[in-house]
Symmetry: C2
Subunit: 448 residues, 2 copies
């Protein structure tokens, strides 16, 4: 009998509470600071920007947060629980004694894990009477997820999409428009900030920082509009914990415990969503596993950055966050993993890396695409370039196990497919990918 | 309690035999004829082209054909059994008393049902010692499936891809190359036929008929190479029956019988694969359901074509097949449903339509994309333009049920996603889609 390929959960086995890692940290996370006063930001001042319940979750130290019925129903409607898949063909190809498992988050309608929090954020906003959501997006995974989430709860959605992606990558833009969202290239004519930049350069290519600024301006200048963010913040990571909570049930059902838990990190939400429920067991001495976060050498926030207070955006509009950062003015090279081109990392993840609970590694994009191609040829699924960073780590570990004979259980979050990133594969196959690495990284100090 | 969204089958519940409808027809299907002699083609002469076991299945009248263990394992490895999904959000949006179910074939790694037969064809070829497979592809769904199937069984794969698609639609081409297949724009420099066409016009855009001719020439001029076809032939439809056999088990598990079974038709394989196992019950008086095949008005093979003997390809290299056809020289308009731009339909399906067991309908592409957008906004999944033809029919039926109050069970095969066809959605949203319909159709008569 061959090993089982997919471990499914029935719909009535879906977890009904999120896990919030803030309950299990030895000390409270360093709070966001007002850049002028250097004092902790008052949650009440954030209510014009975010839904109240999301602010409450942001600072909550409750271990479990009940998932509302409406959100659970929406999760079921987009195909949750997702399968835990054993990569049997990859194992055979590598001739490894290791067992390789992945959580198939790429199976969501928009192709990534992002709807897990988009749906929750849309729901909490709808419940308090918000009529319209504003956000930014780079390559579009987050924007398409929020467009879907907004559509599911009858909210309008406006997405500021970095202009260069808007023009060069129509795939997820058209997806957002199909879901009924309004998408504008950023910088746009729709905000004062956008207009001021276009006045200087009408072909301004835009940056994620600029798009965030426009979405924030849009929010504060429109009644009944709130802002949503796709990663970094605690409430986002908490929503994503549905991934790891399901995976834990799935591993328990086959009586196996993972030895290695890996994920890629942009802002940190897919890694955290998958890993934190297992990490809870490690923090309580119930699981002895390695937790590995994988990032690009072109954007080495945790492997070469500094653990310090920095702005979350380029335009210095957000509070200061204590995190691993390579500086909010860092110009990320044009690697194909658009979702990993963020200068900082989630404060909770940064804290856990700093304390040694999570280990991080960095790769060049050519070796990453080599791993992605091996995965595609064996498992059939073409992974997102972002996801491929942790596939590279897992394959290296599996080869290591072949040398040592160890039968380790290796697990990773397969957080996105690469069907709308196919140009990156074309460039890789043609030998056109460039490996980038910054020579020097200088991070400013805002808080002593 | 909300209705269950997904009806799953466990891996050990996967059907272990294909269903062959030839066993249940009142008379044998009209045989393929040699165009010169007008006599039935001798199966032995086909052995230079096709694997022996596939020829045996082509003319078999066995009701069930055992699926080899290696093929079953490969099916499990690409995610079979696929879920049967209840479209609860679409039902709520339409306010219909109808229950709408779809089989999620779009979840395969290549995004369609095509791997079901690609895997089987690669396996039977590998078993008899074939080292290399040749085929043609239009937009690429079939080519990418055979590239994956070949890779899974260690065979080389050469795909002749219609030049205009090769240039304009890199998505599935890069997918094929990622799986290790060699892809050539057709007409190509690799065959005598291709070179002769390029000598006349070096920018020849190609047609599916030309690509078939090149793949056949490649096959007969290379030792240990065999040819594979993605639809139309009996053995292909038999392999696809895994879809309907799973769906029957899934409907039985919730004690529901479908009243309407629909699918789109290009060559006919996804419709047949889903519908024939249910049609078997209808032919035996055990199920009273409507079977509806949906095609484009631009290529109205079954709604305006003739049931007669015609060539399967444009270049007149294949035997004559008795089928509904609009003539093998018909120049299909450039609709976005590349998979439905075929002049004929599978002989078994054509026979069943002619006998009144299957009904067919035709739509324009704008109404089809309107339905696709409604589906995407409610179910989240962006369907392939081809698939959207039967979604249009199902939505119309659901609206009809709202008027009559009938609680019909409507089922269709969700045979492909549209993530690599996103340009079509962009054109639809921009109001750029043109509705085509031929004025007159003339079909030549080859056999009196």
């Amino acid at each position: 009998m061959h090993p089982q390929n997919r471990i499914n959960l029935e719909e009535d086995e879906i977890p009904t509470q999120y896990y919030n890692i803030q309950a299990d940290l030895r000390e409270p996370l360093p709070p966001p600071l007002d850049p002028k006063t250097k004092q902790p930001v008052n949650p009440a001042t954030l209510e014009r920007i975010f839904a109240k319940e999301l602010i409450r979750q942001e600072i909550s130290s409750e271990r479990y947060i009940t998932i509302p019925d409406e959100v659970l129903r929406a999760y079921l409607e987009i195909g949750r629980p997702t399968p835990l898949v054993r990569a049997t063909r990859l194992e055979r190809f590598l001739k490894t004694p290791a067992k390789i498992f992945y959580k198939a988050e790429y199976l969501s309608p928009t192709g990534s894990h992002k709807p897990n929090t988009a749906i929750a954020q849309a729901y909490y906003n709808k419940k308090q009477g918000t009529e319209r959501l504003a956000t930014e997006t780079g390559a579009g995974q987050w924007g398409s997820a929020l467009a879907l989430g907004s559509d599911m709860f009858g909210l309008k959605c406006k997405v500021y999409m970095v202009r260069v992606s808007y023009q060069q990558k129509p795939g997820r833009r058209v997806m957002m428009e199909t879901y009924g969202a309004e998408v504008r290239p950023s910088p746009s004519e729709d905000t004062n900030f956008g207009r001021s930049l276009l006045a200087q350069d009408k072909n301004h290519p835009g940056t994620l920082g600029i798009a965030i600024s426009e979405a924030l301006e849009d929010t504060v200048t429109h009644e009944n509009t709130r802002y949503c963010l796709g990663s970094v913040m605690n409430h986002v990571l908490t929503h994503q914990s549905i991934i790891g909570l399901e995976a834990k049930k799935q591993f328990e059902s086959i009586d196996i415990q993972p030895d290695v838990i890996a994920g890629c990190i942009g802002g940190g939400s897919n890694f955290a969503g998958f890993a934190y429920p297992f990490l809870a067991d490690k923090l309580h001495g119930k699981l002895d596993a390695d937790f590995v976060a994988c990032e690009p050498k072109a954007v080495p926030s945790t492997t070469r950055g500094t653990f310090t207070y920095d702005f979350g955006d380029t335009a210095e509009m957000t509070p200061l966050l204590k995190m691993y950062t390579i500086g909010h003015k860092y110009q990320s090279p044009p690697i194909h993993s658009g979702g990993l081109r963020y200068h900082g990392k989630a404060p909770s993840l940064s804290y856990l890396i700093n304390k040694g609970h999570v280990h991080s590694v960095a790769y060049h994009q050519n070796e990453v695409f080599q791993a992605a191609t091996t995965f595609a040829k064996t498992e059939g699924v073409i992974p997102a370039p972002e996801t491929a960073h942790c596939i590279k780590y897992i394959i290296d570990q599996a080869i290591q196990c072949k040398k040592t004979g160890e039968e380790k259980v290796l697990a990773f979050n397969n957080c996105g497919h690469g069907l709308l990133d196919i140009k990156a594969y074309e460039d890789f196959l043609a030998g056109k990918l460039i490996d980038y690495e910054p020579l020097n990284i200088e991070v400013e100090t805002y808080v002593k």
